[in-house]
């Protein structure tokens, strides 16, 4: 089973991003997804910067995938998506049907977690258009992943979002700017001040959600380390970790040890809990409310 790192969902300063990937290059990861997927206004790094990081990670032996933006609205969004899709060197992850159209007919692209693929018929269609990897939707249950894996077209890999705050929803509206009474187009890039997003608690103090600009993440940290045996039985090829501001390398190391059989899953789970700023959850995987732990 391979270990992947998803794209950074938050807005981090340029220096922090460069430093982060210098460390990632030396980590126990197999695959790294790169790019700004949340907000087209974020500009600490441009596509050329991402391509430079991609080159360095490739030289360090990582497989690199460029992730396309999740919500595309403007012609500018589409121009960037065309550049990503046509980069000619790195594999690309589609995160909406527009990207699927641009990638159709090319070989070896990834149908990302934000392309809604819930059944073998949809997956077979994408495979016929050149997709070679399916990332399960974040709400997928273990039953759904198992049956999709069993029915997958030949040569298709299955990947599961296995650790991190869940990207639950996306809007055209920026909720971080809203908190500070700023207009979206005059936001002052206030999300730079919140490298793990902006905590949203219920009125009785439950850590419910996290605001990340136009994206809303789970307050709990989704983690399937204790489900490793089920993931392996279902022939899941790749598990994805989502970057967080602190201790991502510890999370990666823990997962690597668990996958390699050097750490029992329950111990891995306990370690991951200590590295996380939110409670761990696996509700979606178990067919329950996503915030729950079974």
């Amino acid at each position: 089973m391979k270990l992947a790192l998803g794209p950074i969902l938050y807005y981090w300063p340029r220096a922090a991003v460069l430093e982060f990937y210098r460390e990632i290059a030396a980590s126990a990861l197999d695959i790294v997804y790169l790019g700004e997927v949340v907000c087209s206004r974020r500009h600490e790094l441009g596509l050329d910067d991402w391509l430079a990081i991609a080159g360095e990670l490739t030289a360090a032996g990582k497989e690199v995938v460029l992730s396309a933006q999740i919500l595309t609205e403007s012609e500018g969004d589409l121009k960037l998506m065309r550049r990503v899709a046509g980069n000619g060197r790195f594999r690309v992850e589609a995160n909406d049907w527009g990207a699927v159209r641009l990638l159709a007919g090319r070989e070896g692209w990834v149908a990302g977690p934000h392309v809604n693929v819930y059944n073998p018929q949809a997956l077979a269609m994408l495979a016929a258009l050149g997709a070679s990897r399916w990332v399960a939707p974040i709400e997928a249950t273990r039953e759904l992943v198992a049956e999709m894996s069993a029915a997958r077209p030949a040569g298709t890999q299955v990947e599961v979002f296995a650790h991190g705050r869940l990207p639950l929803a996306l809007s055209a509206r920026c909720f971080t700017a809203r908190r500070f009474d700023r207009q979206k187009e005059d936001c002052g890039y206030v999300c730079l001040e919140f490298p793990d997003g902006l905590a949203l608690d219920t009125q009785e103090g439950d850590a419910f959600l996290v605001l990340n600009g136009v994206q809303t993440l789970s307050g709990a940290v989704h983690s399937l380390a204790s489900e490793l045996a089920v993931l392996q039985e279902s022939r899941v090829d790749i598990v994805r970790i989502s970057p967080q501001a602190q201790r991502t390398l510890d999370v990666i190391g823990t997962w690597r040890a668990a996958i390699d059989g050097e750490l029992p899953p329950n111990e891995a789970h306990a370690l991951l809990a200590s590295f996380s700023r939110g409670a761990l959850a696996n509700g979606f995987w178990r067919g329950r409310a996503g915030r729950e732990i079974a």
């Binding site: 919500l71 595309t72 609205e73 403007s74 012609e75 589409l78 998506m81 909406d96 049907w97 527009g98 990207a99 699927v100 159209r101 934000h114 809604n116 693929v117 819930y118 059944n119 073998p120 018929q121 949809a122 997956l123 269609m125 709400e139 759904l144 049956e147 999709m148 029915a151 869940l166 639950l168 929803a169 809007s171 055209a172 509206r173 920026c174 909720f175 700017a177 809203r178 908190r179 207009q183 979206k184 187009e185 905590a199 949203l200 219920t202 009125q203 439950d206 419910f208 959600l209 605001l211 809303t216 789970s218 509700g283 979606f284 067919g287 329950r288 409310a289 996503g290 915030r291 729950e292």
Partner: protein, 353 residues
Amino acid sequence: MRGPRARALIQIKEPARGAFLQSPVELVCPAGGLPALKAAVDGGADWVYAGLRDDTNARNFPGLNFDDTALAQGLDYAHRRGRKVVLAINTYPQRANWIRWTAAVDRAVRLGADAIIVADAGLMRYAHLAHPKLELHLSVQGSATSYEAINFFHEQFGVKRAVLPRVLSLAQLELVTRHTPVEMEVFGFGGLCVMVEGRCALSGYACGISPNMAGACSPAHAVRWRETDGGLESRLGGILIDRYAPGERAAYPTVCKGRYAVHSATYHAFEEPASLNALELIPEFGRIGIRAIKIEGRQRSPAYVGQVTRVWREAIDAWKAGEFTPRAQWMAALNRHAEGSQHTLGAFSRPWK
């Protein structure tokens, strides 16, 4: 050529099935049952959209929707009056229940539905191959926000119409419309999703039931209301969504309409509870080349459907006659149905831009 004049020319070539079908902007109204369908037709809807009584549609609520008999009656009622009915089969099937979705498509064809609304690409492929003549509309749950996405569904499956998520501005709608042969349908009135439809798991995260996985957002069985010393509380799946002071008007607890604490302030973190009313934008929709305006609310009463349909019919007809101004009595009638008594132009105007 774009805009109402071009649309009108195209319409003349089609067989006349009723005066309203000459409209360059069609009115698409909801029906959660036969009485609402009749109210929509009587009120002047060009299309009525409906769902079957199961999780194949995104308003899978108890007591709502159509069995075969009611649907056949509804289709007959609409067709006799020259109107069309589109069946929403717009949730995401999985392997274990796939057959229920394909059976729904087959039922739509057998009963004579004029089109189906589909979100899932696998199901759309099935419908396109099994019933090549069946008119396909891309559901708002399909989350297509760009012309690249919409053209994908057109090229692969011959999709004729797409319903756009309620997050695009007028300028973005115009951009999409200019670059696709697919007819554009937009929401004009009713409940408002703050999040991109088909890409929101907030309800599932709170209570385990979500639109994509179960065909429902914030189902009534997961909602609890409780009077406490601190006021009236609303909960979804046990999560405190909001707390109301005495006399304060309470809203149905969807996650995106709640009040929460963020960075030491407690407020509507996503949006104030409000409904969409884009009636004043009818001329803009026409200018851009929007083909159809959709009224939300299959879960609403026949009275709601009838009243809202009548107002929008009058407004569209007034615009067609070249004498459109938003009339006070229209707005007053529509305001009676607003969530939290507030109406907004939503993303069309983007006051938060």
